[in-house]
Symmetry: none
Subunit: 200 residues, 4 copies
DNA sequence: TATGAATGAGTGTTCATTCAT
DNA sequence: TATGAATGAACACTCATTCAT
């Protein structure tokens, strides 16, 4: 009984977040209206406010959820170990899961690049950075942490900057964009993560 | 007399665009209100509409103006010729003027990355792309145009993605960001623009 | 429950239309402000827009409603038949219901004489004309339709032109205006609708 | 010198009133903007306010001017005497000058039928009424003044109500409208103004 | 608890009027 | 005196948020 209620609540919240993600992706945060989100979720505007105190909270929740989902993103990679693979493969192992994730996270781009956003959308960026640092460090443990941090931020910037290319245009151009993204990262990271001792 | 009026008009328009640029940069296009822009320009809301038919027109005017100013950005470089310089220097010659430009164009970032924007804000992106293509082609005339186009778009994406790093944080980190931006571009572009025949 | 809501909605809409009618009648369409109408209806400006997409829609709705109410206006007369009555009585039977209707339709005059109006306020004029044609034709079926159409338009013009006399001034002068309206119509229509064969 | 200035002023005022008349006729009083009127008159908005303290004053001035011009409208008729002519001819002599006047007074209709108008636009109606009374009395001096007054007001209402028919539609329908207007008036006025003693 | 009608401050925009030149 | 840029109150309309049901 109590269970059921909680579950119903969870489902509602779920569909609200889903709707919010789609609307944010479509219109951007500012142009997205809470009424539209509620409607898209098949819920009344009032109900929305039982789960989120205000519009900004939806963006935050979405960011948190995306951040949380990040944990699973590189599960396989992280357990299998990637320290000995060739850089190109490493890049694949890092980027592909991100791209896969991106496909199911409609508002990812919006939340990441949001110029002016309310509240803690930062958590998403932070999770992103943390994961990247984790992966980079795993592959190259002896690197200077400060330098690694820079590499992480720059890599995120690159990812961010190329995201529009990855989602807009023809399938062919999108595929090409993936190639280019990896290429940019590989060339940029090679001197940082690659010490030449690995299998080629 | 007539002169004076025209000049006053120009000054007003100038200060309105300036205010608009600042407010757009601060709040983003959507959250920027025409009344705030007018107030920031020390002008009444009605006055704003003597110069711009609607809010969107300010963004467009700003974009056009930035695009127009682009023409001058690489004046020296373009006349002096850059086909024979080392790639690192080439990158400096390309990037530094952009950065200098960026410093005086507060809304540059906002207008470039604008998710949903009205009207012809595209002109800015286009001018950016055109200039980059021009510079790249000048240095490497025999390159495949299609490939060059891709390189241009990717370079713009990189620039775009790293812009936040260039403007936020400590002076030191900003300086570092410049170094990294150039580094990323150089490593990415080397195989494309560099055929090894140049002075090192 | 659902019922109640719908009824409340209907009531609100009703009171909004009523307020709109009064304000239109008082100030004319242009000078009527949506905020004033809302206030007069005891409602917030936002509420108004839950029922009408824009100001013009209120005028249209009012016109449609008036037009619809026209159907009932001559109910008795139309069923009882008026072909055999004396012209003076016919005029009474035509005019009196119009006047009765007019008393409960504050914006009737405004909507009818509206110089520049948005959208389909025409429906009201059309319903008016249709009804008049119906009545005229019923009484005088063999009349030339083209001529009948002219008679209808002229009669409407007369009605329209004398409306102010019917609503302004002392009760006595208003009563007199009714007499005159009927007199004008009777004298104008006699040669058209009267063939002398009727009971006197 | 002083003359010249005054004359220039008069000309300006003239062209302003002319422009105002056109704009009022086109858009109605409310939708007419002072800036548009000024522009149409080839004059600055500021200049307009040197001649008229506010928008309403233009309508008033126009009404006064129209009222003043009324004096001349029936000049010939009034001096020649119309007491002995047949009613149909009398109506022609009364109506035709009005229609001629109406052709050169673009805002006549707007000012006459103006639902809600500021200031003394009434003067126009009054002049109209006075003239009509004058003509009616001239033809039928022994009539009861009160009754005459009623006949005048009703006639004005008729005129007013049929004005739109006189100005809209095809030339043929406009000609027809004139015929109908006279017809309505003649039939209405016959028992009032006609005692049967006149030449037929 | 869920609803969706209601709210009202705030938005972009207009325009009668003023005033520095 | 004529100008037209400048003003700012007001308008139509929106939307995040609330609350009676």
């Amino acid at each position: 009984m109590e269970r059921k209620r909680q579950q119903r609540g969870m489902e509602r919240m779920e569909s609200l977040l889903e709707a919010a993600a789609l609307v944010f992706a479509e219109l951007g945060y500012d142009r997205a209206t809470t009424n539209l989100i509620a409607a898209r979720a098949g819920v009344s505007p009032g109900s929305l406010y039982q789960f989120f105190p205000h519009k900004a909270a939806m963006a935050e929740a979405l960011a948190s959820r995306y951040a949380a989902n990040f944990e699973a993103v590189h599960a396989k990679v992280l357990t299998e170990g990637i320290e000995k693979v060739e850089l190109g493969l490493f890049i694949d192992l890092v980027v592909d899961p991100f791209l896969a994730f991106h496909r199911d996270a409609p508002a990812f781009e919006t939340l990441l690049s949001a110029g002016v956003m309310p509240g803690n959308v930062e958590v998403l960026k932070q999770a992103f950075a943390r994961r990247l640092a984790e992966l980079f460090t795993m592959r190259c443990p002896k690197a200077n942490p400060k330098e690694m941090q820079v590499a992480v931020e720059v890599s995120m910037g690159i990812f961010n900057g190329l995201l529009p290319l990855l989602t807009k245009g023809s399938p062919a151009s999108k595929r090409r964009a993936v190639v280019e993204l990896k290429c940019v990262l590989e060339r940029y990271l090679a001197p940082i993560l690659d010490d030449g001792s690995r299998v080629r």
